[in-house]
Symmetry: C2
Subunit: 476 residues, 2 copies
């Protein structure tokens, strides 16, 4: 799932370049007929679940740069080759590397309680003797920003925001911003560390990890505690007594290393063969769980969709390119590297789809295409409607790894999974295979198969969008 940890600064100007162009002709009947057949067949296919099971059970946690990350790449190359894909290859991606180490967080006053906590990705550790200091609670980044050095110096900042649960996952915006930025704001004001209520909706006692801003910001330890432990800390603060936390963490940076994107193709045919439809997901995961919903599910969905088309049609006219991105969780390194490595051919990237929001049923299909292509998109939406999918707007973001493509003007489709429960498991030890429902997963495969098949089979393209030079930074 998107590690959107920074605030969007700037204005997105969505001015389709070809808004006055003639509308594309309708989808040919034979493409429609095949789309329906592929869609319905996908609902009974076992490929996606088999992939999720294998990746989570046989590889498990695969944080970027680890030995398991390397094993996951070998697994992916072998699996994609065995499934019959063409041009299976890897493309190297340079990344920083970080080790979680151990963590121990406890309240020492006014009550003695151990807390369930996790270091945020990229956080430094504490000094060897740990940190023991009073806690200052705020409910938001704005409240944190309003504090002075006098308020925070020598203290631990506790940012206590309860993430909203919503089908769209919209509560993640605010929570991931806190996760990404609180330590920057707090360090500027002399705080020794930050502890946040997890950016997650689990009602169980899991701390949610996730990326935080690295780079030039002052570095203080940044940790997250579970919702139950945040309740406990808030209760203690509510007593009016001084509250002390003791933190110890051995998190640390390791020497920079590399990972890779794994790429596989279903080659196109004829005149459109050098045009590309991207089916993306990310291969890395956080280290606490086995990465079943984030993002083995996406890996399973896009591989199964591409294979469904490969095995049950005369082949797409455009090339279907499956990209299993590396190092998404720590900062979308694979997505950025792909866009840079393929900068010369981005105009041949007709549309990009990504699956990185878990295995919940797709409920909405949105797009970001030129106006002239909206008729075609509506036709695809009609093919998805029997799956219980409604038509969304034309302002889709698409997904984190294809973000750099979108920003370069490549059209995107977005199949929105129901994210009501996604953040119960996201970035926790609880992200395991048993959270994946086979039928829901296959509804995803059917949706991705349908959209990718049409996009790769019709004559029309989806235009180009203006490039987007907006930048992200911590908001104060």
């Amino acid at each position: 799932m998107p590690s959107r940890i920074y605030c969007f600064i700037g204005v997105s100007l969505l001015v389709p370049l070809f808004s006055m162009a003639a509308a594309a002709p309708p989808i040919p009947p034979d493409v429609v007929e095949r789309a329906v057949a592929l869609r319905d067949r996908a609902l009974g296919d076992s490929t996606a679940y088999d992939i999720v099971e294998s990746l989570t059970m046989e590889i498990g946690p695969r944080p970027a740069g680890s030995a398991a990350d390397q094993a996951a790449r070998a697994w992916a190359v072998a699996r994609l080759t065995a499934l019959g894909f063409s041009n299976v290859r890897t493309e190297a991606v340079s990344i920083p590397r970080w080790a979680r180490g151990t963590i121990d967080v406890r309240m020492t006053a006014p009550f003695a309680q151990p807390l369930v906590a996790t270091s945020l990705g990229g956080s430094p550790g504490t000094p060897d003797i740990g940190i023991e200091a009073p806690v200052v609670r705020v409910a938001s980044l704005a409240e944190l920003s309003a504090l002075s050095r006098e308020d925070l110096e020598g203290r631990i900042a506790f940012v206590d925001h309860v993430m909203e649960r919503h089908k769209t996952g919209r509560g993640y915006g605010v929570s991931a911003m806190i996760r990404g930025c609180a330590h920057v704001v707090a360090a500027d004001r002399g705080a020794l560390a930050t502890v946040i209520r997890s950016a997650g909706t689990s009602r169980h006692r899991f701390a949610h990890t996730g990326a935080m801003l690295r780079g030039n910001a002052a570095q203080i330890p940044a940790m997250a505690i579970s919702n139950a432990d945040a309740d406990l800390l808030a209760h203690a603060i509510g007593t009016g007594d001084d509250v002390l936390l003791r933190l110890h963490s051995t998190a640390r940076d390791l020497p920079a290393t590399s990972t890779a994107n794994v790429i596989a193709e279903v080659p196109g045919r004829g005149r459109l063969a050098d045009e590309i439809v991207i089916l993306g997901a990310h291969l890395d995961s956080w280290d606490l769980g086995t990465g079943a919903i984030d993002d083995a599910s996406g890996v399973g969905i896009v591989i199964a969709a591409a294979k469904m088309i490969m095995d049950n049609s005369e082949g797409p006219r455009r090339t279907l390119r499956v990209v299993l991105y590396g190092a998404e969780e720590i900062g979308i390194y694979g997505g950025q590297a792909y866009a840079e490595a393929h900068a010369e051919s981005l105009d041949r990237h007709v549309v990009a789809l990504e699956a990185d929001f878990g295995p919940g049923r797709v409920w909405q299909f949105s797009s970001r295409v030129a106006d002239a292509s909206l008729g075609i998109v509506d036709e695809i939406a009609a093919l998805l409607e029997p799956l219980g999918i409604e038509r969304g707007d034309n302002a889709a973001s698409g997904g984190p790894d294809i973000g750099p493509l979108r920003k370069a003007g490549v059209p995107v489709f977005e199949l929105s999974q129901d994210g009501t429960r996604y953040f119960d498991f996201h970035h926790t030890a609880d992200d395991t295979l048993d959270k994946v429902d086979r039928d829901d997963l296959n509804q995803n495969v059917a949706a991705y198969t349908t959209a990718a098949w049409v996009a790769a089979s019709i004559e029309a393209r989806f235009g180009r969008l203006p490039s987007d030079n907006s930048q992200w930074q911590c908001q104060e």
Copy 2:
């Protein structure tokens, strides 16, 4: 909740001694009227929740013999005194003591995966260098017992039984037997350690701890893994490849120590004042969570029920004795010590009630009384019926801490909580305050208040039952 870890060997002969006695007269109208008023008032009371909140937030995990256990006793004495109870006191209980230490469990072949695991209470640790050995999977104690030394020597036994979810908690019988006994059976056959699928129903990634048989049995490390990790291990074994686990634990026994039962009373009035109605719960908890459902909820329920009667009636005729038992989890030490210390006065114990099955709504009222008293019990059941409680049978066990009283012939009432979700949290880190619903908790208070009020206010007693000399032992 009952640490019923041994198999029941023997026959329970429930032969009420007074089955031919004349039936007791009905409950007097003024007692009924007051019962209804107390019951309904209890539904809106905040005492129970306040107690659960305070005990879990301000004391937290309180394993028997720990500093927090001692703090819990001081908390209980202060709280009971402040609430206005009489004769607040402690009675010492001698106990063994055990330290969990650290644990690390991982699969090393055919895949490398860390597993979420916990040592079972009383387990020894591994050698410093750990244990790495092949795994042998069985689905039951019977299957384990059927193995030979050749099958198990030098190996790790994995007992993979999935606990049944049921309102009555009936699935716990088999699962707790495995937890308590698997290491005994496996050690007899030369196994190096046992790993069980947790005795619990959590669909989240928690390992459930709990007591295992100590005593004369050969001691090998005994651990539990979460349901998701048991799935993973079963999957690996299903591949047909050799599966290796590496175990490391620093669990160990500490010198024996003492804890205490905390007792408080609402004194009776007049001729029946030296007769006693017991309201029991246990004060200790396992160390992983804050013991909210097990058993701060019970502590809150019985204290609130006694206080409701104390504050809103002219007082019970019999003495209401609240007993907060110590060291239940590690082997019902407090319950046994109470029965021994009060052996001379057990004939003045008219009836005993316990709350140790969480804060779910009470759905059934059962009893273990002389036949002649069944009419009164039916009348109490009629008073409970508006709370949604149905009448159960006359074969109640009552609860773990009052088990020694029951076995000595003291009648018991049992108010059965809905246990459908109890074993999702039981003995895990996830046993925290947010799992307690205020309304459900107060329905419990209303039920306990009603039953205790009537039992303490009517002239009639509930007879005596034959003593029960059955013993428990590991079944093979």
